[in-house]
């Protein structure tokens, strides 16, 4: 039997039962499109998380206070809330640890901010002049906080673009030089940062930067820091720098057992690695959900093909009586199953792509359909046809022509 004849038979068999064929194809369409869409969303989410972590700064090591140890059976303080890091710690890191590019001491808080009749509540970061370099922050207007302003605990502030919009309105000009009030204290705006496009808890655009010493003097009232951010000179030395900082701080805090440390040192690579392992798992999970629906679609194909074989028992008998061999019959039924899944595969890829584009338009995640996933999806759909069509086709081919002709 020739290829063109097989196609002819396949077409006439599938078009004879359009609704049933259509529904069976739909099963595959759902399976393939969900694989394509889910993988693209998973990949997009993973890219987004990585890039937003990287936008926090490069070669970054963050030191945060750990839980404060108490003697005996007292309750331990919350992790991160403890006051264990001081300005002196930051200074020691800058002078005693090698391969350190910059060190920034930070004190953060959330306060009510007011300006000419408007008010907002946002994060106020006490930082040093090293902040822009470490955090990849650029200044759009004016200038950032200088060392002398920090040393003198000047009441100056740099606004994030979102905060500026909230306080002065979107079209406001000449904001630099105006005054705002943080917790009732007047600060002079000296600069506006460039938008970084963050969102959620860590929106770097909705922030006010003031000198760290001003934050300590006017708001927290003590010498402790909430974060020390260290930039290593290169990616390669980060593990070493992380170790050196840990050793130094343990020595400074007079702790001999590193498990008892009252601070934690986080390497940006660790965060990236942890996040990417989460997103990879997420992508696998999404692909698995798609895969399950593809499996269900495949079972649908098998179900339909088995029904078809039973329904067409007499036809199979007739074909065999007039000279069709086992191979002719099995090829015919296998071709039908593969045709169903291939059509389903093509439509599914198109639909999955469309879903991925639609998700893109919502702006939540930048999805991307990789050519590899399209090729794999197409291959999988053809394979599904072969796997789930094989048994019904073999069953048809093995029919005895006499029994088949007599079948009622």
């Amino acid at each position: 039997m020739k290829m063109s004849d097989t196609l002819h038979e396949t077409y006439s068999a599938l078009s004879a039962n359009k609704v049933r064929s259509g529904l069976t194809i739909l099963g595959i369409v759902i399976g393939i499109s969900s694989v394509i869409a889910m993988v693209s969303i998973g990949t997009g989410a993973s890219d987004r998380i990585s890039s937003s972590i990287e936008s926090l700064g490069s070669n970054l090591i963050q030191i945060t206070p750990g839980a404060q140890r108490t003697q005996g059976f007292g309750a331990s303080g919350g992790r991160g809330g403890a006051k264990t890091l001081t300005n002196d710690d930051a200074g020691a890191i800058a002078t005693q640890v090698g391969n350190v590019q910059a060190v920034d001491s930070q004190v953060s808080g959330r306060y009510q901010i007011t300006a000419k009749g408007t008010n907002t509540n946002t994060s106020v970061q006490g930082v040093t002049s090293a902040y822009p370099q470490i955090r990849n922050l650029e200044i759009a207007e004016g200038s950032f906080i200088s060392d002398s302003q920090n040393d003198s605990a000047a009441k100056v502030a740099v606004l994030g673009p979102t905060t500026r919009d909230d306080l002065f309105g979107i079209d406001a000009t000449g904001v630099v030089g105006q005054s705002i009030r943080i917790k009732g204290l007047e600060f002079k705006v000296i600069g506006i940062s460039v938008a970084k496009g963050g969102s959620g808890f860590m929106n770097q655009d909705d922030m006010i930067y003031i000198p760290v010493k001003s934050a300590q003097r006017y708001f927290s009232g003590d010498q402790y820091l909430t974060t020390i951010a260290v930039q290593a000179t290169s990616q390669g030395v980060m593990t070493q720098v992380q170790q050196d900082i840990t050793d130094l701080l343990l020595a400074r805090h007079k702790i001999s057992d590193s498990t008892q440390a009252d601070f934690s040192v986080l390497n940006q690579n660790d965060i990236l690695g942890a996040a990417s392992s989460v997103t990879t798992t997420l992508t696998y999970l999404l692909a698995a959900i798609g895969g399950i629906s593809l499996l269900v679609g495949g079972i649908g194909i098998m179900n339909m093909m088995l029904t078809t074989v039973t329904e067409r028992t007499k036809e199979i008998g007739l074909r065999k009586a007039i000279g069709a061999k086992r191979k002719d019959i099995s090829t015919q039924f296998l071709a039908e199953a593969i045709a169903l899944t291939m059509i389903g595969g093509v439509v599914g890829i198109a639909l999955g792509w469309a879903i991925s584009l639609a998700v893109n338009l919502t702006g939540l995640v930048t999805t991307s359909v990789s050519p590899v996933s399209v090729v794999i999806a197409f291959g999988v759909s053809a394979l599904t046809g072969i796997i789930f069509g094989w048994y019904p086709a073999r069953k048809a081919a093995a029919m005895n022509p006499i029994d088949a002709l007599r079948y009622e």
């Binding site: 006439s12 007739l318 009586a321 007039i322 000279g323 006499i402 002709l405």
Partner: protein, 237 residues
Amino acid sequence: MIEIKDITKSYGEGDAAFQALKGVTFTIEDGEFVAIMGPSGSGKSTLMHILGCLDTPTSGTYLLDGKDVSTFDDERLADIRKDKIGFVFQSFNLLPRTSVLRNVMLPLVYAGVGEKEREERATKALHAAGLTELHFQHKSNQISGGQIQRVAIARALVNDPTLILADEPTGNLDTKTGEIVLGTFQKLNKEHGRTVILITHEHDVAAHAERIITLRDGLIVSDSKKHARKHARHVHD
């Protein structure tokens, strides 16, 4: 030429075994028109399956054109059916939703004959069976019962077989239409020299053949050559 020697066929095993054919021997020359008759349970269907290479005998030999096909496996039997035998069944002869022409071409499709030759040969066979181009593109469910049987005859002819085997071809037809179909067989036998074997349980139908082999309980009870066979009129429509 068909030579059958001591053919037996048993179904089942042990005590439940049932012997459908108990030793059947006959020879059919090329160009004969033979009816195989017998009541139900006589073994005529089993014999027809063996003659049609749809089944193999338990013992005995079956020489078809000098070749012993009684020991052939499935695949070789399929080849024999494709090349040497044309079937006309009582019912379900044609593929549903398929044109008359495509139905007749089907054996040639399996034989791997090219598209152009297929159509030529199918057209010739349809003409020989008394059908005109008017019906070629009709679907198999758009034509009458008599026409269906004649399309089946055309299909049986199309691969130029040694033997046309008809299993109760008039069983589903009224007498008048049945006559026309039988007339078509007679014409093919007489004018084209085709060997035709007709399986039936009706005397009237068997009477159209030149020779009647009667079976009962798996054995031949009579094998008579008739001289005055009943003539049916073959008509074109």
